[in-house]
Every structure is written in structure tokens, then in C-alpha cells.
Amino acid sequence: MIARIRAWALGVGQAAADWMEVRTGVVSMLEHFLYEPVPKRGMWLYTLGSATLFLIVLQFLTGILLLFYYVPTTDEAWNSIYYIMTEAYFGLLIRGIHFWSANVLIVVVGLHMLRTFFSGAYKAPRELNWVVGVVLILLVTVLAFTGYALRWDAEGFWAWEVGIKIGSYTPFVGSYVATFLLGGDTVGPATLSRVFAIHVWLLPALLAPLIGIHLYLLRKHGEFGSEFEYTKRLAELRERKQIEEYALYEEGDESPRE
């Protein structure tokens, strides 16, 4: 009886998969993504990249939930956050996850960059993926900076004000950028609207496609963990070179090279 149910379920599953495959190609696409061989020894080091992606997704999800209550006006911004933390269902948790995952994201993204650097994983043909990664780190930093201001509390606001002031010292364009971000000469309702638009719309819209490009280039060139993934092959290469050199030496054609 159980065997018959299992066979029937397998048959239905297979038929469903075939039906989807013919119409969307989703099964072969999943095979393409899931069954690719990847290096084995550095398995845990590679999780830094996926952890970064996970935390960014968490930022998107909790950010969307916060948007249900957050009001981006100078009069209501602080009150709405206070409401989220004290009255809204799971508000404390959702805002906490948004805040702490942003902090953890900075740590993880930094570790991910260090891992890439020290393993030399940016070398040809992976240079462009490094460049995209640096852009992503800059975007994450600006996201953190603008998020700080959205609280519209004393700490976040004045820190943001200091940041804008420093930015206004940029040669040639500083004053224009500061005026644009402030929405005028001084802080006002337009300031918060612009910070909100940058944090919620502009930066995520830039971040998402760049993450896509980062992942595409990763799949195109493959993961490069570290040289220890190639220990045996490098040893074989050294051994072969030594044998060739000694052979040349014995023939007396030339002395061994250093």
C-alpha cells in the first residue's frame, strides 16, 4: 500500500516537474544552479558571501515591514518609530532585526572582502567582480548612513548633519551635493523626504541589480577560495618542473634554474 502511494506520488511529482519544465524551463534552470561543482575545502569560508546576501534580504524584508508604520515627515518620523517600538505588533523585533542585521552586515561584508583579498580571488579573470563588490560595499555604507538619519532623533540627525557638512567640503561639487541632500540651504521637511527616497528607493534599486551582476560573475568564473584548494595540483606542478630541470641538468644542456 505504502509502496503504491509512494509510486503514485513520484509519478505525480515527475509529471508536475515535466509540465513546468516544458512551459518555463525551471527544472533545467534549477539543475544548472544547484548541481554545479564547487571547491570543497573552503566550504565555510564561502558562506560569508551567502551570509551577506541573507542579511541584505533580511534588510529588504524588515525594511518593507517598517514602511507599513514609518511616516517620513519631520513631525511624525520620530513618533512613528516610537510607535513601532512600543505599540506595533512585533515592532520591537522587526526594528531590532533591521538595526542589528545592518550592523552584522557591515561586519560580514568586511570579512567577505578580507577573505577575497587575502585569497587573491580578485585576480584575472575576476577583476570586475571585485570592482562590483567594492561598489556594493560603498552602497551598503551609504544605506547605513541614510538609515541613521531616518530615525530623526537627536543622535541620528546631528550625526547626519555633521556628515553632510563634511561632504560639503568636497572640491567643486560639495556645496551642490549638500544643497541637494538638504533640499535647500537648511534642514527642513524636504531633507527627510530626500533621505527617505535615497534610503528606500534609490539605493535598493542600485543594490539589487549589482547583486545580480555580482552573482552572475561569480557563477561565470567560479568560486576561488584560496590556494589551499589547489595544494595537490600545485605540488604536482612543482614536482614536474623539478623532474624536467633535473633531466635537463643530467643531459648537460644547462644547469638547474633557481
Partner: protein, 162 residues
């Protein structure tokens, strides 16, 4: 099920390893699914647990509402901007702020972008790339020292804690 061979090149019979093909495939490989995905899920679950625990144990900060009429408030940077904030202390005055706050960070960012082209040392191991290794070590050391100096300075703020 047929396993797709991706960027990791397949084993060739009687392959001779040369400088050109040594990095074509690692010594050992595994399927992305399930091994790597399981590792990714484990790390993500641990991070989620940490973040959820912190959300309740140390709620996200919210200080008093912003008051434009005050001009005595001393803001503290988030921990990840502390090294940058501290760097500004080394360039006091209006003449030097653009240099410490804009020019140097911009140069650092440009160097970050150019790393793949600046690194001409052979091999991938950091042992075989002493120049880049030393530079990276100095950058990390500068960031850590600046952060520590910033924490000490912030602790000395009136009623300050980092």
C-alpha cells in the same frame, strides 16, 4: 541526473599540470547542492538567531526627538564610522577638513577599486604576495587603532558611552 560542469573544468585523462591550467579546478569538488547550501543555511540560521537575540536584549536605539534649537548636542558616530570620524581629528580646521574628510578617503576608495591591477605579484596565496599583504595589514591596523582612539575619545564625552 547529469551533473553540469560549470567554471570548474572537468578532469582530463593524462592531464599535464602547467602554470596556465593549475587553477582550472581545485583538488576536491562537491555539488553546490546540498553540501554548500547546507553550510550557507547553517550560517544564516546562526546569524538570524544572533540578530533576534540582540533585538530583544539590546533594543535598537532611539534617543530624544531632534531639536533644531539646540546647538550644544555632540553627536556620536555609529561604530563603523568611528575610524573615519577619528581621522578627521588629525586634520583640524577648515583648511584641512577637505583633505582628511574627502581627499584621503577618495584616494583609498580608488586604490580599493584598482587592487586587481595593482597586484602584479604571482600566485594567489598571501604568503606569495608580501607587498599586498603588508599594505592590507597596515590598512587594517590603521582602522583598528583609529577605532580604539575614537572609542576612548567618545568615552570622555560628557556622559558619553560609545
Amino acid at each position: 541526473m547529469e551533473v553540469r560542469q560549470g567554471p570548474v573544468k572537468p578532469v582530463e585523462e593524462g592531464e599535464i599540470i602547467t602554470d596556465e591550467n593549475v587553477y582550472d579546478r581545485p583538488d576536491e569538488t562537491m555539488g553546490f547542492f546540498p553540501s554548500q547550501i547546507v553550510a550557507d543555511l547553517v550560517v544564516s540560521a546562526i546569524l538570524l538567531a544572533i540578530v533576534v537575540a540582540l533585538s530583544y536584549l539590546v533594543p535598537a536605539p532611539l534617543t530624544e526627538p531632534m531639536d533644531l534649537s539646540t546647538d550644544t548636542y555632540v553627536p556620536r558616530p555609529e561604530w563603523f564610522f568611528m575610524f573615519y570620524d577619528q581621522m578627521l581629528m588629525f586634520f583640524p580646521g577648515f583648511a584641512f577638513i577637505p583633505f582628511g574628510g574627502i581627499v584621503i578617503p577618495t584616494l583609498v576608495v580608488i586604490v580599493f577599486f584598482a587592487v586587481p591591477w595593482l597586484d602584479n605579484e604571482p600566485g594567489h596565496s598571501s604568503v606569495k604576495r608580501p607587498f599586498m599583504g603588508v599594505i592590507a595589514f597596515l590598512v587594517i591596523l590603521t582602522v583598528i587603532i583609529n577605532m580604539l582612539l575614537a572609542i576612548i575619545r567618545i568615552l570622555n564625552f560628557p556622559g558619553g558611552s560609545p
